[in-house]
Amino acid sequence: MTARTVLTIAALTVREAARRRVLRALAVLTILLLALSAWGFSRIDAEFGSLTTGEARLVASTVLNLVMFGLSLIATLGTAFLAGPTLSGEIESGMALAVLARPVRRSAVLVGKWLGLVIFGSGFVVLAGLAQCLVVWATVGYWPPDPVAGLALLAAQTSVLLTLGLLLSTVISPMASGIVAVGLFGATWIAGVVGSVGAALDNEGVARVGTVSRMLLPTDGLWRGAMHAFQDPTLLTQAGAEVGESPFLSDAQLTVTYLAWAGLWVALVLGLAAMTFLRRDL
């Protein structure tokens, strides 16, 4: 019964995302970004003809990460604003009443929603990211070293944020949960940048800001892992010490421990969301 509920609700959530205007908005934004980046990359190739191959790779790799950040931002905003209304909006409007009066467990409905959103968010990130990699390959001939891991980490980053959005939507109003989730995402990213500045300046206290924020909300840590997978491995040796300061280059691969923590984080937050949802009077 539980598996059937999870799959039914997941399919319903994917269908909702596909039929709502948010999908069209996402598609338009993504195509705009892809077209803009295609034009930008073709200009890099044309204008900087005098660059050495290594320099061209450095530029292409950094700009690719920049554009990927744009993509992950679109995905994050999109799913956070989908995850928020999907639960609290349904409770407010009364749509949840008829569904939850069926022989279903609330936790199964919640996990179904989560699964549907993960499929949708990850699907979007992987498709758009892959398209972006192809654009870069076609314009400047650069192919990232580990696109599969990079795209998977971007999908994981989106999943982390939508899990947080889902937890927030069980306790606060739809719009507020979207705003808070995106706000926290931005704050963690800035804390990550602050941390990397601290690391570059050998200031342990400032560096710890980044580390702690990456533990509290794993979006920035996963994003840095994704960047590492997209950038040219020879960059670090070429660029030297100033790499640590750039928010669009990452100096280390993710550890298995961190990935495990991110997985555990998602499970914990989803469990917490299920607990608050179970106790809620509708």
Partner: protein, 334 residues
């Protein structure tokens, strides 16, 4: 639990098993709804305060009471949508905490809203899947047709009026062949025609032996279809019982001409008689047999009286309800 020593015979359908089956078969079928001592507080306000009642299998029970009496809260507690602070619920014999208890329950919420990005046919398919029942597509189309949405099965719910969404809600409540249907204000958004449709639906449910718990402000509706009524006030059961028990006395209003003294005597024999012109009102006693009214009409016709109208007193439940709510003198008819 004590170990079963008679296992060898029991396993093969022996006497022990037969005895258990006999015992089960002899048990009366569990009620459609049984709840006891339900209590719910929201902050300082007590919404439901010790509510207990039963809805038998195939019985149509009306839940009446003023705004804020706790009717919707009670319904939500029954369906597990609201957690009671105290009390127990059994739906079709299963504890209300168990989601399976709702497997054969249909529900139309007071706040009805369905996925605007789906079509009515898809909404029904979703609910059938969540219920785990096997309802063929033809039956689902029939459920939509029964609420007057047969022509709109392929349109998006987002473009529906309130009344059409409520009709869809009725189809959702009825689609998975429920044994118990809980309707919370099922006609709040419907026009008079829609209300008549709902009344017909309720009567057909009653004819099929489906138990119904109906919360409605329209007392006429309740009086026409319900076997029993539970009246809630300030979160408590103010009165409950069959209509006859609650109303006690029934009125019969007649419009007659050609009433002679013999006919008048016959009318007075049926109950207390008051007359104003050609309008006669007979107050029937509660213990009257079911044939009292037809017998009376037949006798009057035989006595040469011309019968223009015979009308049972319909507003009496409303009067009784107001009386109970104003004075608090309900009495329990159970």
């Amino acid at each position: 639990m004590a170990p079963v020593t008679a296992a060898p015979t029991a396993r093969n359908g022996g006497p022990a098993r037969d005895a258990a089956e006999d015992l089960l078969a002899e048990l009366p079928p569990s009620a459609a709804v049984w709840c006891s001592g339900l209590r719910k507080r929201y902050g300082r306000r007590t919404a439901v305060d010790g509510v207990s009642f039963t809805v038998g299998r195939g019985e149509v029970v009306g839940l009446l009471g003023p705004n804020g009496a706790g009717k919707t809260s009670v319904i939500k507690i029954l369906l597990g949508l609201v957690r009671p602070d105290a009390g127990d619920v059994l739906l079709l014999g299963r504890p209300g905490r168990d989601p399976y208890a709702r497997a054969r329950v249909g529900y139309l919420p007071e706040l009805f809203r369905y996925q605007p990005w789906l079509t009515p046919a898809e909404v029904l398919a979703l609910h059938v899947r969540l219920t785990g029942a096997a309802v063929p597509a033809a039956d689902r189309r029939e459920a939509l047709a029964a609420v007057g949405l047969g022509q709109r099965a392929g349109d998006r719910v987002g473009g529906f009026s309130k009344g059409m969404q409520q009709r869809l809600g009725l189809a959702v409540a009825l689609v998975a062949r429920p044994e118990l249907v809980i309707l919370d204000e099922p006609t709040s958004a419907l026009d008079p025609l829609g209300r008549a449709d709902v009344r017909d639906l309720l009567l057909s449910l009653k004819a099929r032996g489906v138990a119904v718990l109906l919360n409605s402000h329209l007392i006429g509706e309740v009086e026409r279809v319900c076997d029993r009524v539970v009246i809630l006030d300030k979160g408590r059961v103010a009165a409950s019982g069959t209509l006859a028990e609650l109303l006690g006395r029934r009125e019969l209003r007649l419009r007659l001409d050609g009433v002679g003294s013999a006919a008048e005597e016959r009318l007075a024999a049926a109950g207390d008689l008051t007359r104003s012109g050609d309008a006669f009102t007979v107050t029937l006693r509660a213990d009257q047999a079911a044939a009292t009214v037809p017998d009376l009409v037949a006798d009057l016709v035989a006595l040469g009286v011309r019968v223009h109208a015979v009308e049972p007193g319909r507003i009496s439940l409303e009067e009784r309800l107001l009386d109970i709510l104003r004075t608090g003198s309900g009495g329990d008819g159970r």
